[in-house]
Symmetry: D2
Subunit: 356 residues, 4 copies
């Protein structure tokens, strides 16, 4: 009933507050006999980690992953895999001024409202730090999809504030995405994006943007009508990530301005395989995958924590002002790229296992 | 595992093929003691029904709802409620030409791929006719939300092809929405939308659009972090509707171009209640409802079934051409309005029951 | 959350009150391409039906099954299968005297307590009439297990009151079970059981007993540790049947008096297959099936509805007396045999599908 | 789909192999604001721990519990609670001789069969060591039930081999249960039970027995018909414990020999409350709790691991012999008492939360 589990077969339950003892997850339903090492998982975690570049927060967090169960002699046993990162000794005093005040745009107020109690240190469970557990689990999902289905998942920054990249999905590679700190394969746009982020940061402000994700060679026939369609499950997965505001799939919102005769992907034969001439569908018809490439966009709002002074209220109903202290990301989009990939991998793997 | 159940507490399982014996649903988890009549349900079904106006399909379907269980002497018993609509004797011969051919943009190909068998008559389970069961269940959810929480759900057509309405959400009423056949409360835009739809129809083509939905006075504190957030559950619900391509919540995709200082909704006191000066959040922070109004948009593609000739292939891998026969909606957006409302009601009611 | 769904992959949701419009179920997750006819389902229903013999209730119920969806041209589509039996026009006036009084041993009191409302006619949802939906769904599960796994499920009456049958499981056949009205393959015991039942009936009383069930050639490797073990899932399935009081598996309660050296089934080789010399385990080790035959027992209490006068109370807290009117089973065990088989089939099929 | 989660609202997922890094669980769905300390949990763990007395295994395991998340400043946050026990450096070499051989009565063979891989050290996930995570979670469930509902759960050893205790449930206390090492409140029977266990141990053999459990003052109206009845959920919970072979509830198997007129609990008024004169039902009618005390029995087989020589086979299909080395429990029943209590608490709490 509570919402900390994702997936129906490859079930990931995450736990941990930002400044508690540890953050981690348990994966139940991972097939047996898969080779997994801590260093493979660590590699994906390092892409999400703070302090990577001049445009992310300068906080340093070690985030060393530890496998507690479910893997023996380097192979999965078919039993639950527990993954853990111990939180380093964060200076909790830094958060004393937030004990009784609600930060605008954050979950402080709603956690207090819902649970009658909240961990104010670092945002507790509402912190994006929770997503490291998703990235850890996602790294295993990605590996299984690659090995068993030949599926590859590649996300990148498509837009930051008003700057939009031009990207040919057919030529997309991980190397191009990772070639700059903003994770945008359009090098020219990337530079403008960095400028936009730095400008916002210098003005004690923040910016948002769009992550686009490509799923190459997804398994055919996955998606469970009528409710658990591929785009529906992906939408939920993406909208469960902190700071997301929108999702569209394939032709997306642009489809609303097209005619049926333009939008329909006509079927054709490619050798002995059924194919389509265009891919407005984004690889899903009636919620079931065709086998064609999938792609979708995820909208991220500008980071809520900003240095500028803002009006707010206290737990006791007093109006007050707040200026964020400490070091925060002026834009979370570049660090969100591996999170989008992880959630996409968890979604597709789970649907594939459901279809078997 | 299969995907025909929606909700975790107020669980709705729909069944039925377009041209089978019947379409219906079972609702398990409806609270006891709620007054429900067939005519209340019928009223919502009639809003979804084909043949309502000159811009919808001219097919006539009776769609008379029947309550089979769970309600006695006009009150719910707390036991499963089964609702049924018998399919009228559709002329199945009309579909003989579709037995072996895949309609572009429809689920024919993927159902065949996934199940190795498909009901070709009227699209079988892939038909939007299935959504009548959702509207039936949703009408009960709507009533409970109204009675128990004072929540009202109002959806309307915001955009058809290139025509976008200007609508003040504070003044939105059901009466205004129902005042024209396109279900758009901006009368001027509504007339242009009707023209656009008629033009497409006359050209044997189709158009898409956007439904916007307002949830007035939603319950506070609902939404289950970290995965089952309000916007995540709504996203899934909406993307599970036939022909949807995108979803955004509150500020939505527009947020990606805003600064944090613009986007953050500052908290203020309104009497003894915490409130916000703006509502970019759309009534959800960290995935938990603040109690403020929620609103979101859903993108619909142009109807796949069109009269224009299209290229396609047969089940046996032969290339062929297809022209849709019969009477189809040139735009499904106006009839989608009650479906969006139903899915919103099912989502919000379920989250409210989960939070109790 | 509500408890009207059984199974995780082959999910059966039952609905319907004893004297409502209809009783039925929806099966979601049935594999596509299975041949199913109404008459196959009807055959199993007829084994459960009242009025079969002199030792069952003399009520006549037609119980004609109707397939509403999920099956086309005699084959499953992979979509939800809805099955329905319309209730015949029962004389509801017969139940007027039960409107405000709680029958001892029945669920009248607890339904009122839980839901604040109850359908008093025929026990409403608490009636064993609900199990016809289980038998209908179970008949499909049985067929799939037989066709796909070669598994056969045979239950029989092992004990009625103090009479216990001697049955060699290796020689058990459906024919022997169905050779007498009490469904006991030990003919001598069967006759004594019939005498015991008739004696109880003549004394306006009732008797209980034990159903034993054999699962021949179950699939290997099914059962999901650590909670969803084969015996755990079967225990739940059986204890969900009306009037059950106990369950034991393999050696069962007798194991508590054995030594480890007696009880352990030693492994041996049978050709190239691992086998065991004895089968105290009942075909499950650590909750996972070995492939060996499974067997278990289910205890049924004596029928609660009896003609003898009993003390009880009314809804308003008045003490009163009650004598059951109408025609009731003096022993429900013989009619419970197909219900036990159905629930066993649903459990094993679901676990097999979960293991794929 | 995998079976490592118990409960639908108070959801407990356990993880960990006997000789892996750690054993633990994540509880999702624990209400916020409950006071919980590590020492309260530890107290229950210590009741389950090996090496407690002369009749248990002499292995020493520290089993120190650690709270990783979900609790801050001594109170639950409403977020997932992760509990962990690190495994001490067990001498894994002790298990080298079991790498390729299947122990009779254990899950070695079936884990290999199901997963194609198994952790042979200490039985891996099949080890009863997993139940420490259940006891840890159960200790929280017990506390909540006590505080919120006034419910108390008391289990004890009712039978060891042929020795059966006489226990008056009305006078049962924790103190009496804990007054001897076999956890039997009938002191005379307790001494005979200890003799029986010691005799079996000295003969390199093992014995089984029965645990009886009393649930005093359970919440009224819990249990979710038609499948998730109280006795059905308890049956599953108990049959999910290692080494269990049977379960019966209230009058249990004895009911099968009773007449309806004896078995029915007649209703009477006790002041303004409805009550029953007898309690054969065990506090549940139609699967819903009446509020009366519940009681049930659980059958445990004799410990599988014995010192006597047994025939078995190797992974490669060779017949061989095996004598268990190391120190094992000659009877697991006394240590099973807190496990039965824990599973009962998890079941009742979950059903109570489902009923809210």
């Amino acid at each position: 009933m509570s919402g900390n589990t994702f997936g129906k077969i490859f079930q990931v339950t995450t736990f941990g507050e930002s400044h508690g003892n540890a953050i981690g997850c348990v994966i139940d339903g991972c097939p047996a006999g898969i080779e997994i090492t801590e260093s493979e998982i660590q590699k994906e975690l390092d892409r999400r980690k703070p302090g990577q570049s001049k445009i992310t927060t300068q906080r340093k967090e070690g985030d060393q992953i530890k496998i507690l169960s479910g893997i023996s002699d380097g192979k999965t046993l078919g039993t639950p895999i527990a993954l853990l990162v111990f939180n380093e000794d964060a200076n909790s005093k830094d958060y004393d001024h937030l004990k009784d005040v609600f930060r605008p745009g954050q979950a402080d107020y709603t956690y207090q409202l819902k649970y009658g109690i909240r961990e104010h240190r670092g945002g507790g469970r509402g912190s994006a730090r929770e997503t490291l557990a998703r990235v850890a689990a996602g790294s295993i999902a990605k590996k299984i999809l690659k090995e068993k289905c030949g599926t590859e998942i590649l996300a990148f920054t498509e837009q930051i504030e008003k700057v939009t990249a031009e990207v040919d999905l057919d030529k997309l590679t991980l190397q191009k995405i990772e070639s700059n700190i903003v994770r945008c394969p359009d090098e020219k746009a990337a530079q403008e994006m960095i400028v936009a982020i730095e400008k916002a940061r210098d003005e004690k402000d923040s910016v948002g943007g769009v992550v686009k994700c490509l799923i190459k060679c997804p398994p055919k026939g996955i998606g469970e009508p009528v409710f658990d369609r591929v785009p529906a499950e992906l939408a939920k997965a993406m909208m469960s990530i902190n700071a997301t505001k929108g999702f569209d799939f394939g032709s997306g919102f642009a489809a609303t301005q097209m005619r049926g005769s333009q939008h329909n992907d006509e079927f054709c034969m490619q050798g002995k395989e059924v194919n389509t001439k265009t891919n407005n569908a984004g690889g899903s018809l009636g919620g079931i995958s065709t086998g064609g490439d999938m792609f979708f966009r995820v909208a991220f709002k500008p980071t809520s924590t900003i240095g500028k002074k803002q009006n707010t209220v206290t737990k006791d109903g007093q109006e007050t002002e707040l200026e964020a202290k400490g070091r925060h990301d002026p834009c979370i989009v570049p660090r969100a790229v591996p999170i989008v990939e992880a959630m996409a991998a968890l979604t597709i793997l789970d649907l594939w296992l459901r279809n078997k």
